[in-house]
Symmetry: C2
DNA sequence: ATCGTATATTTCAAGCTCAAACCTTTTTTG
DNA sequence: CAAAAAAGGTTTGAGCTTGAAATATACGAT
């Protein structure tokens, strides 16, 4: 697996020990730029077409996958953002009647956050548009290639795994 | 834009006209998760080892590539963030003596932002650590694979290109 | 010269983000 | 049981981010 020097023509490993890191850095910068570009497009369209934001959408998308709701801590875990962060977003979504906090019977500390019916309806429309946008923005990738990339990204994600409820 | 009636719950109904979009959506979610994970690691390490932030580092990295400095508008263009945003970050970097605003001779509106010598030295250390971190975080990618990915990401970036000073 | 438009940047309000401090409730432990 | 530790959430302070409005300068055509 590791390129152990004795390869046929490894100019890269012999001549430059940091050629690999340079190449990975280059990849990272491109990946970051691509991600930012897609995110910017999504942000703009969510605002334009639905008057919402990407973080709001992310929270609703997470909740949409759990009919029974998610605890605040689980929500921040899934989204990989701080829990103090989620508090504010859920507050605003709750003000608009898109989500509700439900008291957990046995535990007076915790509460489950759930989409309201209105929240489900609103999110369904946003999600459909979102999927179409992504497909358009990434149309240079064939489905086959997309699958390959998905799998390779999992390597990054599962690398130094601590906890991951997925 | 308008809810066209037939969009409420289009679960996997048709054969596979949307298989491609599903696959791309899957790829996007993985890509986003990977990016966020790397960014979170970078953010934490920049804070721990250098007491700085990712946006600050991004600004300094951009300036480090232009010895003659960059105008605020060019800076925000390179970083793809709003220009109001850059103002605040540059303000704080300037307070710490890491960058300076230099008046442009012929134009009293514009100013060039440049790294100070201190800024160059500080950034050099951060950049070395940064490159090593990236290589570690992406070590599952061989240099060859990294190169392939870089090229493919360029496709996304150069898709609907408006302006890009790079 | 002056009007109008375009350019360069800052300011502003609202919202997102984090880490750390804090409060409350639950669980563990002496 | 009571004290201590852990868990669930919110609050707080600082910084980041955006889009829109404001400011100031530059330039082009009268």
């Amino acid at each position: 697996m590791a390129p152990n020097g004795t390869d046929a023509n490894t100019r890269t490993s012999a001549a430059a020990p940091d050629a690999a890191s340079k190449e990975r850095l280059r990849m990272w910068l491109r990946m970051l730029k691509s991600t930012r570009r897609v995110e910017a497009a999504l942000r703009e369209r969510l605002r334009r077409d639905f008057g919402t934001t990407l973080p709001r959408f992310d929270v609703m998308a997470a909740l949409a996958r759990y009919d029974d709701g998610l605890k605040m801590s689980a929500l921040s875990g899934v989204l990989r953002v701080s829990n103090g962060n989620v508090t504010g977003i859920v507050d605003r979504l709750a003000e608009e009647g898109l989500v509700v906090r439900v008291q957990v019977p046995g535990d007076r500390r915790a509460s489950l956050v759930r989409l309201t019916r209105k929240g489900q309806e609103v999110f369904a429309r946003q999600a459909a548009a979102h999927e179409a946008w992504i497909s358009e923005l990434l149309e240079d990738f064939t489905p086959e290639e997309a699958r390959i990339f998905s799998d390779r990204f999992d390597a990054v994600t599962h690398r130094n795994e601590e906890e991951d409820p997925e």
